[in-house]
């Protein structure tokens, strides 16, 4: 169980010196308890206290890091079963698999698509983050060559090494250098050698069980051998089995603090279906239900993009609405006679409104005002969408230089603001738009600038 602020306070020196950048020890203790500050920020706590606090506040699913630098990948760190309870911390990583049994052109194609299939949405760069490299036949030479190739051709990729040969694995891990790979493939049979290799390389180890119980056994042994960073696979290769194991493992770790299952999981839809669309459906299920990493056979834009959208949506923090930047957005190539609309910067509102405008092909200027992610009505009630603020924003954005007319279309829900806005924006006509975005197309098609 996490410690309370008071329990943490007892372990602090109570100097109230402020070196932790928080004025008092009590305030600092509260922040640590809430997970908003790290205990390390206080230079005066004993190592012993650090360990106690660290242990107590560690999430039930261990946080495991791969790679290096800016493109590193983090998995785990989860603390709940349902995203509405708090949030999901680290999004499921999508991986593409290449194998030593594949033709060179198939490998090249996958690496190429890995690099090019990236998408920007609400300021987030969405992409697959990992490449899994599989040793198909135990040929160490071929495996090393493929690993070297991927390392060289995909410098941003985080690496999963897949081999059951500890020797091949050790060599490959060495080649990865500081781009920490996940060493996947410790089974009951090769566990000791794999644990040694993982310790030697200082990399996370992937455990592969033949079923849930078998995995728990392997995990207990690995923990006893002193390993900390692991990723687990129960071996389930049916959708029902995989879903069940994922739910059971997450629940055991979060609810019962069952340590052997307190690690991120890895799933292999690539081994579960030959149909890329069905493979994506499996990925879709386990992304929502607890896979830390999902390995796909290939990447294609038409399938990867929807999966990435799910990843983005499910792993959004429910307590922090996604926002778009305050700006003037051009839709369908507007000119000086095109309508000017304004709304809030809650990303959902933006997507729906801009989608409707785009769909009806009317060139328009869409002003997005920073409302701290609040929806139109809430923002207005909270004083973040007042007439004065809108006036300031419109001046700053420079919309007057972009259009000849002076007519602003406001959301229908803010009809009562018309008068105030006309006072704040002399020379502008305020037009009340529809309440529902769905009625925008009809509205815009009829629209003519006020004479």
């Amino acid at each position: 169980m996490a410690l309370t602020g008071i329990q943490i306070l007892k372990m602090l020196p109570k100097k109230n010196c402020g070196e932790c950048k928080i004025p008092t020890c009590l305030a600092f203790a509260m922040k640590v308890a809430a997970g908003q500050s790290e205990i390390d920020e206080c230079p005066y706590v004993s190592d012993e206290a650090k360990e106690t606090i660290g242990e107590a506040s560690a999430p039930p699913i261990r946080t495991v890091k791969l790679g290096a630098g800016d493109s590193s990948f983090t998995s785990g760190g989860e603390t709940c079963l349902y995203r509405h309870e708090k949030r999901f911390e680290n999004q499921t990583g999508l991986a593409v698999r290449v194998t030593t049994a594949m033709a060179a052109s198939d490998v090249d194609g996958r690496i190429e698509r890995f690099k090019t299939l990236q998408y920007d949405r609400v300021g987030v760069n969405m992409k697959a983050e990992l490449i899994a490299i599989q040793d198909s036949d135990g040929d160490g030479g071929k495996f090393s060559a493929l690993v070297d190739k991927v390392l060289a051709d995909a410098p941003e990729a985080n690496i999963i090494l897949m081999s059951e040969d500890a020797g091949n694995m050790a060599a490959a891990a060495k080649a990865c250098g500081d781009r920490k790979p996940l060493m996947f493939g410790a089974t009951e049979a090769n566990l000791d050698d794999m644990v040694a290799a993982a310790k030697d390389a200082d990399c996370p180890l992937g455990l592969k069980g033949s079923n849930l119980d078998n995995l728990v056994g392997i995990s207990e042994k690995a923990v006893a051998a002193g390993l900390k960073d692991m990723v687990i696979d129960t071996g389930a290769r049916t959708l029902r089995g995989l879903f069940e194991d994922n739910v059971v493992a997450r629940r055991a770790a979060v609810k019962s603090k069952f340590k052997p299952l307190g690690f991120p999981t890895i799933a292999f839809p690539c081994e579960m279906s030959d149909d890329p669309m069905m493979e994506a459906m499996i990925a879709s299920v386990v992304m929502a239900k607890y896979a830390g990493i999902v390995v796909l056979d290939d990447l294609q834009g038409e399938i990867l993009f929807p999966l990435l959208l799910e990843q983005l949506n499910i792993f959004t923090d429910p307590q922090r609405p996604m926002v778009v930047e305050e700006d003037i957005y051009t839709i369908n190539g507007p000119d000086e006679n095109s309508p000017v609309l304004i709304t809030c910067n809650f990303s959902l509102t933006y997507f729906i409104v801009s989608g409707e405008i785009e769909g009806c092909n009317v060139p328009s200027w869409l002003l997005i005002k920073d409302t701290e992610g609040l929806s139109v009505l809430t923002a207005w009630a909270a004083g973040k969408f007042g007439a004065d603020l809108i006036a300031v924003f419109m001046k700053k954005a420079g919309i007057e230089d972009k259009v000849k007319h002076r007519e602003l279309i406001i959301p229908g829900y803010l009809a009562s603001m018309k008068g105030e806005l006309e006072e704040e924006l002399p020379g502008w006509t305020i037009t009340i738009g529809p309440r529902e975005a769905g009625h925008l197309p009809a509205f815009l098609k009829e629209w003519k600038p006020a004479a």
Binding site: H84, M277, Q300, N313, T316, H439
Partner: protein, 280 residues
Amino acid sequence: MPFQIFEGKMDRKPLIAMDVVDVNPEEWPEPLKRHFSDVLDNPLAWAKKCINEYQAEAICLSLVSTDPNGLNRDSSEAAKMAAEVINGIDVPTIVWGCGNPDKDTDTLRELTSLIGTKKVCLAPLEDANYRSLGATAMAFQHPMVAASPIDVNLAKQLNILMENLGVNLNTVMIDPSVGALGYGIEYTYSVMERIRMAALSQSDEKLQVPIICNLGREVWKAKECRMASGEDNMGDQETRAIMMEAITASCMMIAGGELLIMRHPKAVNLAKAMVDGLMA
């Protein structure tokens, strides 16, 4: 929770209804339209095609044409057409109004007088018209859909109001107002999980009601379903749109959706295959 059959029974698979629109949907993207190209002008033939060719287990007849902000087709005319469709098919059917409370009351009332003893599910009953439509549905013993804006408490409140009216909650489904993948699905997802949790863990009887997700119409509005093949690295248009719809369905079923309304035959098949995989 859904599909956790290792610890509890899940007696019924989620049901998927295919969407039939009562007027030629000009705005549908080509990769969707082409599967219905010979029946787009004939709702009855369309419904039959869904059932016979695409193995639809249920139909949702969407009365888009009655929208006062759109075609504004006369209620009695629309009801007559709807009755023809309903009398011509033999699978569970939902009749979904245009979303204008007054107009829907008129049309659906008219409809109930035309279909005799045949049962259809009436949708949507909202805050503004649950009294009138609820009374009609009760009188003719039709099941109904209670639609509320994406919020656990609003869903509960409407169910309480319906019960006060005398409606048996056994005849009600909750429509939590769903958002598509990329368009607010995270809100839908969590509201649905919370409704399910309240119903199952806290035994909140007012929320022990199946959830219906009218997702096809949301998904196919999305820009990503309309962008041509090859644009912005997003690959083939039809496959992309199918995946948008199928993954939206996947998320909703995982979160507790029991009846889904969908459009593309391939997306329906993928969703069914997923259910079969989870319940195998």
